[in-house]
């Protein structure tokens, strides 16, 4: 009972944490989408007054005004060309650059940093405060087979890749704030270069890992009855009855789908970033970096939460080590799955037993029909 209470607390707090996180994302997106509108309105106001201005004006003023109008009004009548043929050479002034800078410097770096630090800090706090959820009645010593070799391979493949991508990505994002004071400019420069190059090389492999993950895990992650109940009862702890959970509980399914969808978002934006010199992608590239960073921070936070869960709930790690879990663990955490597999196994066992009995009988006695 004690264990139950404790884990109820942890799961509740995790959910609060998750909802905070969702709010945060919504806010960020809202700001992102509104800020250009504000900016555009301001600029438009200016240009309106300019047309009414009287007196002599420098011809260059008109030029700059036109340039800015063009930049905000799309291709409204004014074209610019250049003899230089390279991407963006025709663009006179790229006003989006300023927005991108604002987003990165004023939003992403500070709030992204706070977000990540608070998530990790919060999880660490939970780790320290909340004791491990022990396997009820301890380990039985009997094990149940849970994950196949390929399932484990694809999981750890993803862990290695996402871990690596997270590490190198975070270095590139926060390295200037965090690592330069430690390593110095020159020291960080080659770390950052290495991060960038390997981030680019390993990036496409994430797509492979997502595919492997989909292939080997999707069968267990379809929504099933009881999932909603699980979510509403916060992991079955608000409900009085012990919830019967299948192969994965709703939380694990959410983790899976979050990983997959964020992974897809990261892959698409990441691929865009891999080909920055393709025509007409400059604006998309800026957007892609923004989305890429936000999705990555979310995924990293979710991954930390996942790690914390595994560390807290005793016996969960076994499944990913050698594919077998303790029988008591299975009974407690995934009772429906346990029953299904054991019933199936027993049926097999019984069959085999009967067969063996009968065959040995007949062998010994030589009964031939």
């Amino acid at each position: 009972m004690d264990a139950l209470k404790r884990s109820s607390k942890t799961i509740t707090s995790l959910n609060v944490n998750l909802s905070l996180l969702v709010c945060f994302i919504v806010i960020i997106f809202a700001m992102l989408s509104f800020s250009p509108v504000f900016a555009a309105e301001g600029k438009l106001g200016n240009s309106n007054t300019a047309t009414h201005q009287l007196g002599v004006k420098s011809p260059a003023t008109d030029l700059w005004r036109a340039v800015r109008n063009r930049d905000f009004g799309g291709s409204k009548g004014m074209s610019s060309t250049s003899q230089i043929k390279s991407l963006g050479a025709n663009t006179f002034i790229n006003v989006k650059g300023q927005e991108w800078r604002k987003f990165r410097q004023n939003w992403l770096l500070p709030y992204g940093g706070y977000f990540l630090v608070s998530v990790v800090g919060f999880l660490f706090f939970l780790y320290v405060v909340i004791k491990k959820v022990k396997i009820p009645n301890g380990r039985s010593g009997k094990s149940v087979s849970r994950l196949s070799t390929m399932q484990r391979v694809s999981h750890w493949f993803m862990v290695i890749l996402i871990g690596f991508m997270a590490l190198t990505g975070l270095l590139l994002l926060f390295g200037r704030l965090v690592a330069i004071p430690v390593l110095g400019l020159d020291g960080f420069a080659f770390v950052a270069s290495a991060s960038k190059e390997s981030h680019n090389v390993f990036g496409p492999l994430v797509i492979v890992s997502l595919l492997l993950m989909l292939i080997y895990f999707i069968q267990h992650n379809w929504p099933a009855k009881g999932d909603i109940k699980w979510l509403f009862s916060l992991g079955g702890l608000l409900s009085k009855k012990h919830l019967k959970i299948g192969f994965f509980n709703a939380g694990e399914k959410l983790l899976f789908w979050f990983t997959i969808w964020l992974g897809v978002v990261l892959s698409i934006t990441g691929l865009l970033l891999l080909f920055p010199y393709y025509e007409q992608t400059e604006a998309y590239t800026q957007l892609a970096i923004a989305i890429h960073a936000i999705a990555a921070l979310l995924l990293i936070a979710i991954a930390f939460a996942h790690v914390w869960m595994v560390v807290t709930i005793e016996g969960t790690m076994d499944a990913m080590k050698d594919g077998n879990v303790d029988e008591n663990w299975a009974k407690y955490h995934h009772s429906r799955w346990y029953e299904e597999t054991t019933v199936a196994n027993k049926a097999l066992d019984v069959d085999a037993h009967v067969e063996e009995m009968s065959s040995s009988e007949s062998r010994k006695e030589g009964v031939y029909q």
């Binding site: 009287l54 007196g55 002599v56 420098s58 011809p59 260059a60 008109d62 030029l63 036109a66 340039v67 063009r70 004014m78 074209s79 610019s80 060309t81 250049s82 003899q83 230089i84 390279s86 963006g88 050479a89 025709n90 663009t91 006179f92 002034i93 790229n94 006003v95 650059g97 300023q98 991108w100 800078r101 990165r104 410097q105 590139l172 994002l173 390295g175 200037r176 330069i180 400019l185 020159d186 960080f188 420069a189 950052a192 270069s193 960038k196 190059e197 680019n200 891999l274 080909f275 920055p276 010199y277 393709y278 400059e282 590239t285 800026q286 970096i289």
Partner: protein, 207 residues
């Protein structure tokens, strides 16, 4: 030393691309890298203007703000330079720069970016002044020799101005005044011819 600035006079620029050529030649930049370019607006339409654009050496440079490895620095005279030994070629500066100044040598078909290259105001870089490495990495250091950037010096119509910001703005202000005066003068003539009144040229009642 005071701040230095570029200014391009759109009334004078004739899109000859002399500045571009001069820059390429003086700094020996690789193919595909254009530290300076001339942009023409309303090409072939009434009101066509051209401007020569390069790094504007901003006071609050966006490139320096977003650089993940902090490779930018501003010299005493306000020139924004960067350290290629630190640059990792991530391209963030190019996303932030309004003028499209940062350039990247493309290495290979995957468009992996090499180290960023941009206008240095012909002021070299962090390497030892006048050294071969400096030239190889950043191009000429004309400023150290007491010369202005070649683009401006080569400008046939003196449209592209470079140098001490105060001097540049004085020159430009003088040009604007001169142009205004001539416009005014022609206005006066028109007024005289058609209205028969004598305008006041003290400058106090120009409206």
């Amino acid at each position: 030393m005071a701040n230095v600035k570029f200014y391009c006079d759109s009334e004078r620029c004739i899109e000859c691309n002399g500045c571009v050529t001069a820059c390429k030649n003086e700094n020996d930049v690789p193919w595909g890298v254009n530290r300076r370019r001339v942009v023409t607006v309303k090409d072939g339409e009434p009101g066509e203007r051209s401007l020569s654009v390069a790094c504007m050496h901003c006071s609050d440079a966006p490139c320096a703000a977003v650089c993940p490895v902090d490779c930018f620095y501003t010299t005493d005279n306000g020139i924004v330079l960067h350290d290629k030994d630190i640059c990792i070629g991530c391209g963030y500066c190019s996303y932030a720069c309004p003028f499209g100044a940062p350039q990247f040598p493309e290495s290979g078909a995957f468009s992996s970016k090499g180290k960023m290259d941009k206008c240095t105001f012909c002021a070299g870089g962090p390497e030892e002044t006048g050294s071969a490495e400096e030239y190889q990495k950043y191009g000429a250091n004309r400023l150290a020799e007491g010369k202005l950037p070649l683009c401006a010096e080569m400008c046939a119509t003196k449209a592209l101005l470079a140098g001490d910001a105060n001097v540049v703005s004085d020159i430009y202000r003088q040009r604007v005044i001169n142009r205004s005066m001539s416009t005014l003068a022609s206005n006066v003539r028109i007024q005289k011819d058609f209205l028969g009144s004598s305008p006041d040229l003290t400058g106090k009642a120009t409206k």
